[in-house]
Amino acid sequence: MDELFELKIITPERVFYEGKVSYTSFTTMEGEVGIYAGHEPMTMLLYPGVLSIHEESGVKKAALHAGFVEVTPESVNVLAQIAEWPEEIDRNRAEEARIRAERALREDGSTLREEMALRKAIARIEAAK
């Protein structure tokens, strides 16, 4: 069994997740990052993407958008602006948002806002799978 560490995910509205986990992965500005216990201290900026939480009893998934992560050897603190469990995600809406964002990107080129919207939509769809 892998060593466990403390994972805390907090959003402005609620404490999203709190517990002992063996591994977690999420998307940062640099790409996907996976963390095991004893990681070097690090602060990273989040990008919209899928968060996976490996507990002793199984794996949980969630969509995570914007915010930052503080990693220390014993704990990981995620201060997210938005976080959603798969059951809270409306897949149809996310699908629509994806189509809309893709169309907007095709029509008037890549703007940061639309790109983020597309990433968020994809993150939601992936998490809800």
Binding site: P12, P41, T43, E70, L79
Partner: protein
């Protein structure tokens, strides 16, 4: 002894005061419930944000960044959160006392005010005032907090002010609210954390600059937002208990005056009767 008419008039005037305080209490109660839910929901986030980021910043004192450099010995920028209205017990006064008693001399302060009560006081005492955002406290929004943090950060960056503090009222429960002052930048200590590892190497990804650029405004905004919500809940809590006490006092006075009035009335009747009896005895 006051005449019957005077007693009656006083009682009526207190009765109408009681009606007002009772109505104000009800309004404050409703507002408190709303403000309290919001304050309690955001508290874990803002508290965590405060602790995490200030610990990070404290650990990375040596990084040179536009928001972290010690900027001379200019003025202290203070964000003072009071209410727009009075009749809230000691609420506004307690916050102002926190400012005047914080040890920073008046000449070394520039105060950004939220809440007319605080602004009026400081104006009449010749404090240097920054912008005013009094309308914000009625219904604090995250957007407002972002705007406030931008104003403060740009003043900090241009060295108009050399530190950023916020004074607000912490909402513990309906009756306990304590004024608090915290220093946001530069970070010198972290409240609620006894010892900080003096050597905490922190790596930033992608790099120091872009991470700090992103998290410092977020940190400022969420701490300010939390402070606004705490203060709004405290103000309504303070007003509710003040008005509750006022209503109780009014009731007590009304009881007292009713008693006096009835006594005076009974006295007058007795006297009249005695006079009639005495008169009829004299005739017969």
């Amino acid at each position: 002894m006051a005449s019957m008419r005077d007693l009656k008039r006083r009682r009526e005037s207190i009765e109408s005061t009681e009606q007002i305080t009772k109505a104000m209490k009800l309004v404050a109660t409703v507002k408190l419930q709303k403000a309290r839910v919001r304050a309690e929901q955001t508290k874990p986030y803002t508290q965590r944000m405060y602790r995490t980021v200030s610990a990070i910043l404290l650990g990375s004192r040596n990084i040179s960044h536009r928001f972290l450099k010690a900027s001379g010995d200019g003025k202290a920028g203070i964000l003072l959160i009071t209410g727009n209205r009075g009749l809230a017990g000691g609420y506004n006064q307690n916050v102002i006392r926190m400012l005047t008693g914080c040890g920073i001399p008046k000449e070394k302060m520039r105060v950004y005010t939220i809440g007319r009560k605080g602004r009026d006081y400081l104006k009449s005492h010749d404090y240097e005032l920054g912008e005013d955002y009094s309308e914000v406290i009625n219904e604090p929004l995250y957007k407002d907090a972002i705007q406030l943090s931008e104003v403060l950060l740009s003043a900090y960056e241009s060295e108009e002010i050399s530190s950023i503090h916020v004074i607000f009222t912490d909402f513990k429960n309906t009756v306990v609210h304590t004024p608090r002052m915290i220093q946001l930048l530069p970070v010198t200590e972290v409240e609620g954390m006894e010892e900080i590892p003096d050597d905490m190497p922190m790596n930033f990804e992608p790099d120091d600059e872009s991470v700090l650029d992103e998290i410092i405004p977020q940190y400022m905004a969420s701490v300010i937002f939390g402070a606004l919500l705490q203060s709004a809940a405290s103000e309504n809590g303070a007003r509710m208990s003040a008005m509750d006490a006022a209503t109780d006092n009014a009731e007590e006075m009304i009881d007292e005056l009713s008693l006096q009035y009835n006594r005076a009335r009974q006295g007058a009747i007795t006297q009249e009767l005695t006079e009639i009896i005495a008169g009829s005895q004299a005739v017969s």
